[in-house]
Symmetry: D2
Subunit: 285 residues, 4 copies
C-alpha cells in the first residue's frame, strides 16, 4: 500500500559556501523527496545564505530529519522543518480599531490564512463581539498606568506559554511594548504601523502625512524591536491621496492598506517565507 505523501517546508540559514544546494538536494533525494518549490538568496551584506524548500516525500519526519542532519551539521545551519499549511499558533493584540482584526479573522475562517488564534487580547473591551462572531476567545485588561501595563504584558507572556504561541500580532494595539517583552518575543512579534516607514514614525502618522502634504499614504508591517518603528520591514503598501483629504479621511483610506499589509505579512510569516538578514528581511514569496 502506498504511503501517504507528506508535504514539508524547510528553511536553512548559514554562511554562504559552495555546494550547499547540492548537499541539501542530495539529502532530499536520499529520503525519496521531490522539491516542489525552491528559493535561495545569498546576502552580499552579511555573507549569509538563505534557502526555503517545499518537498513532497514519503519519508517520516524522523527519516527526513536524519537524512538532513549531516548537511545541517556540516554547514552549521539554522534550520526549520514543518508541514506545509500547518496553522501557526497566533496571539493577536488589539485596542479599539477593528479593521485589522476583522481582516485576520475573516481570512482565517475563509481558509486563506494558515493561523490558529487561541486568544485575542485587548486593552479595551470593544472588539469582544467581533472575536466572538469568529468563535475566538477574547480577554480585555485595561492599561492605564505602569502597573496595569506590566500586568498586561505578564498576561501576554503567560498566554504565549499557555498556548505555545509561535507569533504575536499587534493588530493596531496602541501601546508601546516594553524592551523586555520585545526582546522575549524577538523575531515573532509583528506590528502594523499606519505610515510608509521610515516616514512618519511615532504617533498620529496620518496627521503628520496631512501636514506634510504627501501624495501617497501607506502602511508598514514590521518586526518589533525595542527601537520604536525601526524593526525589520516585512511588507509595505501605499495608496494615492490628494489635497482634498482631511486627516480623518486619510485614516479611513489608510485602513485598507493597513489590513491588507498586516494580513500579507502574517501569511508570509505563517508560511515560513520570512527570514531575517540583519536589519532586513528576506521574503521568499
Amino acid at each position: 500500500m502506498a504511503l501517504p505523501h507528506n508535504h514539508w517546508v524547510l528553511t536553512f540559514v548559514c554562511a554562504d559556501l559552495p555546494g550547499i544546494v547540492h548537499a541539501v538536494s542530495g539529502a532530499v533525494v536520499a529520503s525519496g523527496g521531490n522539491i516542489t518549490e525552491s528559493q535561495q538568496f545569498s546576502s552580499a551584506d552579511t555573507g549569509r545564505f538563505f534557502m526555503r524548500l517545499q518537498v513532497e516525500s514519503e519519508a517520516s519526519r524522523g527519516e527526513f530529519e536524519a537524512a538532513l542532519a549531516p548537511v545541517v551539521e556540516r554547514y552549521d545551519m539554522t534550520w526549520r522543518l514543518d508541514v506545509v499549511g500547518r496553522p501557526l499558533r497566533t496571539l493577536v493584540l488589539v485596542s479599539t480599531a477593528a479593521h485589522c482584526l476583522n481582516d485576520l479573522l475573516f481570512r482565517q475562517r475563509a481558509g486563506q490564512l494558515p493561523v490558529q488564534i487561541p486568544l485575542v487580547l485587548s486593552n479595551h473591551g470593544s472588539l469582544r463581539d467581533l472575536a466572538g462572531f469568529y468563535d475566538v476567545p477574547f480577554e480585555s485588561l485595561p492599561v492605564t498606568d505602569a502597573a496595569s501595563k506590566a500586568a498586561f504584558e505578564q498576561r501576554v507572556i503567560d498566554a504565549v506559554d499557555e498556548h505555545d504561541i509561535e507569533l504575536v500580532v499587534l493588530a493596531r494595539y496602541m501601546q508601546i511594548i516594553s524592551p523586555e517583552l520585545c526582546e522575549r518575543l524577538a523575531g515573532r512579534l509583528i506590528n502594523i504601523h499606519h505610515s510608509f516607514l521610515p516616514g512618519f514614525k511615532g504617533a498620529n502618522p496620518y496627521k503628520q502625512a496631512h501636514a506634510r502634504g504627501v501624495k501617497l499614504i501607506g502602511a508598514t508591517a514590521h518586526f518589533v524591536t525595542s527601537d520604536l518603528d525601526e524593526g525589520p520591514i516585512i511588507e509595505q503598501n501605499v495608496v494615492r491621496v490628494d489635497h482634498t483629504r482631511t486627516p480623518a479621511e486619510l485614516v479611513a483610506i489608510g485602513q485598507d492598506e493597513e489590513s491588507r499589509t498586516l494580513t500579507q505579512a502574517v501569511k508570509w510569516f505563517a508560511e515560513d517565507r520570512v527570514l531575517l538578514d540583519g536589519a532586513r528581511t528576506i521574503i521568499f514569496r
Copy 2:
C-alpha cells in the same frame, strides 16, 4: 465673420467667502466666455479658497481682464490669466544623470509637455550632446568650491533674467542651492528627490533605502525651499522592490519613477495646475 476663440486658463486664490463662484462665473458670462474646465478647493487648514478655470471666449485679453477686475478687487484675489497651452519658459539644471533631462526633452518635442527650454545649465559637460540632439543650448560651469558655486548661481540668475524664465527645474542637479537663490526663485523652483519623502532625506537615498530594507522605493517632485528636502510636495510615485536588489539596482529601478514624477510635476506646473496652500500643494488635475 466669427472671431477666433481664445482659450484661457485662470487661477484665483483668496480668503474663502460665499459668492466667489457666482462672481467669477458672472464675469465670464459678461465677457461672452464659456467655462470648459473648473476646479475649486476650500482649505480647512488655511481658510483660503483656490480656483482654476479654463474658459473659451471671443473677448480679447484686455476685455476679459476688464470684466474680471472688479471681482478680483472685491475678493482681494491673487490671480493669473494665461493662454491654455502656452509653453512655459523653463530653465533646466542638470549634473551628469541623463534620464530626467532625456524625458523632459523627449516629451517636450513630442508635444506632450508645454514648456520651452531656452537653456540647459550644468556643472558638468557630459549631457551636452543630449541637449544638442534636441537643439537646446547647453552651458557647463564647474562647481568645485564656494567661488565657482557662487558663479554658477549668478549664471542661473542671469539666465532667468535674460530668458524671462518662469520655471527652474533641478533635473538631478546634485548641488545644494543657496538659501538666497531658493528665496529668489520661491514658488518656481522644482526639484526631483530620489526617495519617497519624508523618508531618506539628504544624500544617497537608495543606499539608505537598501540599508533600511524598504519594500517600495520612490521619487518626490517638490518645490525647493532653503529647508533641504522639506519644500511642498507636488508629486510622488513608488515602485516595488525586494531583498534581492542591490543599491546599484535600486538606482536603476528608481530612475523611471524619478523621470516620470518630475515630468508630471513640470507638466502640471506649466498648465497652472499647482497652487500653494502653506506647506502643501493643491493639484488641480
Copy 3:
C-alpha cells in the same frame, strides 16, 4: 437664533450651454448658500454637461428648491437634491462568497459607507450568520430552475418596493439577472465582476486569466444592463500576479480587489458621485 446649517448635495445634467455655472451659483447665492465642493464636466462625446455641488445653506429644502427651479427649467436639467451623508437604502444580493458582503457590512458599521441595508437576499443560506452579526435581516430563496428564478426576482422587486430601495448591489450574486429586472433597476443596479473587463467576460474569469497567462488580475464594478458584463464601468482595480499562481490562488488574491472595488463603487454612488454619460460613467471623486 441662528438656524442650523444644512449640507446639500446637488447633481445636474443637461445639454452643454454657456452660463450654466453662473445660473446655478446665482441660485445658490440667492438662497444664502455657500459652495463647499464643486465639480463639472462637459462631455465631448454626448454634448452633455454634468455638475455636482455640495452647498451649506440655512435655507430649508423648499426654499432651496424654489431658488433652483427656474434654473432647472431654463436648462431642462435632470437633477437631484439630497442631504450630504444621508444613508442610501441598499438591497444586497449574494450567493455563497462572503468577502464582498463582509466588506460592505464592516465598512457600513465603521461609519465609512453611507448606506442603510434593510435586507440581504441570497439564493443560498450560508451567509445568514454574517448578516446576523451585523444585525441585518437575511432571506434565502433557492434558485434552481426558471420558476424559482422568477420567484427570486419577484422577491427582489417586492423588497425594492417595500423598503423603498435606492440601490441594489450584486455582491458576488452568481445568477444572471433577467433583462426585465435589469431594465426595471436601470441605473441603480451595481455588480462586481471578478475580472478586469472587458477581458474575461462571462464565467470563470480567474480560470480564463490563468489560461491566458496575464500578469495582472483585476475586478470591475459596473452598472448592470441586459448586455452581460457590458454595462457602464464605475471602478476597476488590478493586482500583480505571476506564473506560480494556480487558478485557486488567483481566486483568493482577487477577492481583495473585488471587495475594495465594489465598496468604492457603492460609496461613490451613495455620495451621488456617479453619473451616466451614455455607456460611460462620470465619477466626481
Copy 4:
C-alpha cells in the same frame, strides 16, 4: 595565478522528475562552480520543469558543458548556457512613434539594458535622427502594398541572418507580421500592444478604451504568434485614467506604460529570464 571567474547563466526545461536539482547542482559542484542565483518552477499545466541558474566558476565553457552534458542527456533537457550580461543581438522594427525606441536606446546606452542593436528597420523615415543620435544604423523601406510588405519582411529575414539576430522587437511597428515570419521568428519576436490584453485587441485600442469607459489603461508586451494579439504575455502594466481623458490624451498617457513594459520585457528576455510554458510565460525575475 588565480584564473578569472566566469559568470554563467543557465536555463533548463524538461519533464518534471525527482532529482533534477540534485543532478544539476552536482554538475555545478563538479566543475568548481558556485550558484549565485537559482529559480525553478514545476508547471501543473504541462508537467514541465523549468530552471534558471547563475553560476560563478573557474571552469572554461567547454569544461562546464562537459560536466553538464550527462545531466542534460539523462533528463532530455532543452537548455541554454550563456555569459551573464552578454548583450543580446537585437533588431528593432519601428514605424513613426518614437517613445519605445527612445526608451530602448536610452536604456541601452545607460548600461541598463543588455542588448546590442545593429539595426533599426522602419516602414517610415521619421525616426532616422533618433537612431542616429545613438549611433545605431537605420534603414527605411515603405510598406504600401503586398509586394512592398513582402520586400520589407525579406529585409527582416536578411538582417536577422546578416547580424545573427537573437531577438526582434516590434517597438510600435504598425504592420501585421505575416504568419510565415511569425513562424520563422517564433519565440524571439516580441511586440508591445497598447492595451491591457486580452481587452481591446486589434486596432485603435485607446479609442476602444475610451468608448468602453475603462478606469485603467495599459500595455502588454507579448511574443508574437500568427494569432493576432494572442501570443504569450511577458509583461503588463496599467495606469489610472478618468472620464475627463480624451482618446488623444489616453494615447499620451499610455506611452509611458508602453515603453516601460516593452523595455522590461526585452530586459528579462535578454537576461534569459523568460521561458515558454505552452501559451504562458515563466518569468524568473
